[in-house]
Assembly symmetry: C2
Homo-oligomer: 366 residues x 2
């Protein structure tokens, strides 16, 4: 029985060979450069896909919330890093998880550092997150006062262990000069390493984002790389040049419920609650919420002429259809939609179906 | 113990008295006009909140997917309408549910109608969805050929029972002239009623959308109204004039993890996976992903000077903070965020916490 026979409603498909190839490619690249790959598991959020990653030598992962870390605990990871400025209200939960799992957290201010010093009952590592230009979060690269306050406060505790500096240059997503951002990130981390490694000889530096890690071939003296999205990729990454559409390893299967041949539109069951509302806007202002692929028993193929979701609401998706799609499509068919932002789509769907018909887990709830 | 003591991570709060007042106001309005209120439960998606609604005389609800209908089955509803063009792949599931629950579906084309005639094993009602200008879905109001084909095919089956015409004028969300749209909708449904009521004397017409139902006082000869969002409201509805901010009955509690007083920014754990990415953009192009309220033991208060989420990513939210907020806020505090689009936020969170500390259910998964 084909996996297709199981599908009656919007279903997130995962192509295991493409996913494995994506993981292997990044693992090989990290190895070639002598870097440790610690992928951000906010994209896959899956124990099973974690097991695939382990086959390519990956031993540590990153979570973006303590809930996600909890989901990944006990799966044999050498360490789980929670790459979100630590929320002191979650200290009791951190203590519970740290009993049996090596964990690290991310610190960006002295207040939270002090709260952890006061509240930790088990050893936990920490990275200081650095902002070298992105502006979302982290201690500004020039703010040595704060860095040193954090280090001094942490030193009061034998449970809070400094691991190094973490930098997420998320502005690679919207800045054309990715090489320039990478140079800036490398220099920032290099400077910090030079400044602090006599005091902390084991400190490591980590940088992570898929657009940068996909295109750069010069990681400088950075020790670890931490991209996330590369496991699945998506149309945003294809547009950024991180991958081709053929590298995208997840797609939403959606049922066709109506066809309007005059308007060249197809109505599918597939909207914001399935795909999330991330959008690409072209130079003429046309919105694209996902692109159509043809499903078959062995997976999907990308058509030559493009059809795409021109609008979505909570459950509805409207495809702007090419002539060749209109010729072959029928009400009751299934189409595939490559997502704009796979992390968000996977989070909405909270489960995958493999092409051999197996359900694959994803962390549930927020 | 205050409900606040239970919260350590992003949590969707519901204010029961405001929710009940919203339901009562719309139920009173429907009664005043002699209309039946059949709320769209895609917003609340909750059995418990359904029980509150029943106290105001509401006996039927609408779901936007068969999965949501399944969740609401067996809860004593006189009928559950699935207000999405029926997906023929779900006929077996519809048959299972229809054994013990009165259900109706929505039809927009002859193909699906024929599939239902061939596949139905239990009686199910149907509405024909009409498009009178919105352009998302439905049979165009002037396309009598399709309407009559659907009716003729349906008449072959003693299980598929015509209930009437359904119209969702969703363009009230972005068209200033809501009264004009309502006039158009009323006229469309009136014309259909005149045309078909000799053949179908029991046919009803239903129109539903929160902006229209909130502001209009003239429903004409429409029989039923079906708004959804009014149960919670949100900032988009406040901007549209459907409600005031004080009528919004859900808010996301978010932990404060960092404060940047120079930039007047507060970093919270609350992003796209919690709120969804719906956004309001003001005339100067500033984005607003949600607005700050102050939480206290009895609920929340709206501050005089506005602070709002200026950007969000998967888990991060950055608040543009007013001076008075900056004066009182500390790392480790909780703030409330009124959502832009409460249906999507509730769908992301899939659970509510009441102000007396009880968990309230929401349909899970897609």
């Amino acid at each position: 029985m084909s996996y297709l026979d199981q599908i009656t409603s919007p279903t997130l498909l995962i192509n295991e060979p493409i996913t494995r190839a994506n993981i292997k490619r990044m693992a090989d690249k990290a190895q070639r450069h002598g870097k440790k790959l610690v992928p951000h598991w906010k994209t896959a959020q899956s124990r099973e896909i974690g097991n695939w990653a382990k086959e390519y030598g990956i031993r540590e992962v990153t979570a973006s919330s303590i809930k996600m870390a909890e989901y990944l605990c006990g799966q044999g990871w050498d360490n789980i890093h929670i790459a979100f400025p630590f929320n002191p209200l979650e200290t009791p939960k951190l203590n519970r998880l740290a009993v049996s799992q090596s964990l690290s957290v991310q610190l960006v201010n002295p207040v939270t550092t002090q709260k952890l010093v006061d509240g930790l009952s088990n050893p936990v590592g920490f990275f200081i997150e650095i902002d070298a230009g992105y502006g979302r979060t982290g201690v500004h690269i020039s703010d040595f006062g704060t860095i040193e306050k954090i280090l001094r406060i942490a030193a009061q505790s034998d449970k809070l262990r400094f691991k190094g500096f973490y930098l997420h240059p998320g502005h690679t997503y919207y800045t054309p000069d990715k090489a320039g951002i990478y140079e800036q990130s490398r220099q920032a981390l290099h400077m910090l390493k030079m400044k602090y490694q006599s005091e902390f000889p084991n400190l490591v530096t980590r940088v992570g984002d898929t657009p940068g890690c996909s295109v750069t071939e010069d990681f400088g003296d950075v020790d670890e790389i931490g991209p996330g999205n590369f496991v699945f990729f998506d149309l945003m990454q294809a547009e950024l040049g991180s991958c081709t559409k053929a590298d995208i390893s997840v797609c939403l299967a959606v049922p066709v419920v109506d066809i309007n041949r005059e308007r060249k539109e197809i109505l599918v069951h597939g909207g914001g609650v399935h795909l999330a509302k991330d959008v690409l806007v072209d130079s003429e202002g046309n919105k694209n919420f996902g692109e159509v692929v043809f499903l078959d028993e062995s997976g999907w193929t990308i058509p030559f002429d493009r059809s795409y979701l021109k609008s979505i609401s909570q459950e509805h998706g409207i495809i702007r259809a090419s002539d060749s799609l209109l010729e072959r499509v029928k009400v009751g068919d299934l189409l595939g939609i490559l997502p704009i932002h796979s992390c968000m789509t996977a989070d909405c769907m909270a489960e995958y179906l493999s092409l051999d018909g197996k359900k694959i887990d994803h962390c549930e709830g927020q």
